[in-house]
Symmetry: C2
């Protein structure tokens, strides 16, 4: 008896989210559901304004404050990751089958390219062992100009 399901992925995330809400005595509100839905329906790197705009376009009215608050929960539950794109505001991406990747950012047009490598993880282990640090997270971005922005200069 299956519904007109969108994707198993979405179902999984919704499950994780419900679990998280349960464990923290948080309520399953319309706003949180809609934000989760929107975040997992796209696969790009977005900021708060973009998310707000997308929700408004769908007539899913959610306040800016609630978006900030919900994103904090999504970060805490590891469903969403924060990304530093060298801008003056935070960007986010959902964390579904996109583990361990880094970013290449074009400083001219803003284009973002993802790449994976084991190098970063190895280096982190090595360095943390040497200095007796317990790693929590890392942040790595390469900023530069993409191919098309180079030719048009």
């Amino acid at each position: 008896m299956r519904r007109n399901s969108k994707s198993t992925a979405e179902t999984v995330e919704r499950g994780h989210f419900n679990d998280y809400l349960g464990r923290h005595n948080l309520r399953r509100t319309q706003e949180r559901i809609r934000i989760l839905q929107e975040v997992f329906s796209t696969h790009d790197h977005f900021d708060v304004e973009t998310l707000l705009f997308r929700l408004r376009r769908k007539k899913h009215l959610v306040s800016r404050a609630t978006i900030y608050r919900t994103l904090k929960h999504l970060l805490d539950s590891k469903l969403v990751r924060q990304v530093d794109l060298g801008r003056n505001r935070a960007f986010y991406e959902h964390a579904l089958g996109r583990e361990n990747h880094e970013h290449l950012v074009c400083v001219a047009c803003g284009k973002v390219v993802e790449f994976s490598t084991v190098t970063i993880q190895k280096l982190q282990n090595f360095v943390c062992e040497e200095f007796n640090f317990r790693p929590v997270r890392h942040s790595y971005q390469i900023l530069g100009t993409c191919e098309s922005c180079q030719s048009s200069s």
Copy 2:
């Protein structure tokens, strides 16, 4: 006929700075000299408030606006580098004989450990070649807890 010189390093930097000012039609003001002096008299990672405080302690009154403006010139002239320490504001360090190093930051006490590696540079070259990017700069930090902050938890 040598003066009571503080260090050759300082002299070198002052030279670079004067060159930079000359090339850009900028004046050699008291404020700029004092900021340069203060920045090169310490070897840590500082933010604007800290720099302001240190200058005030020495009765070298410089406004916040001038510090921001001068730091921009110091960045532009490559005498100072900006460092991302995972906080919500910019940190800086002077760039004298401290090329190509990365940072390990304790999220508990704020301690910063520097480390050098050729790995990052190699990786950057490799990735940029693959995606036809022209690299401008990179940012890499490992956030975690230092040894003493681990034991006191």
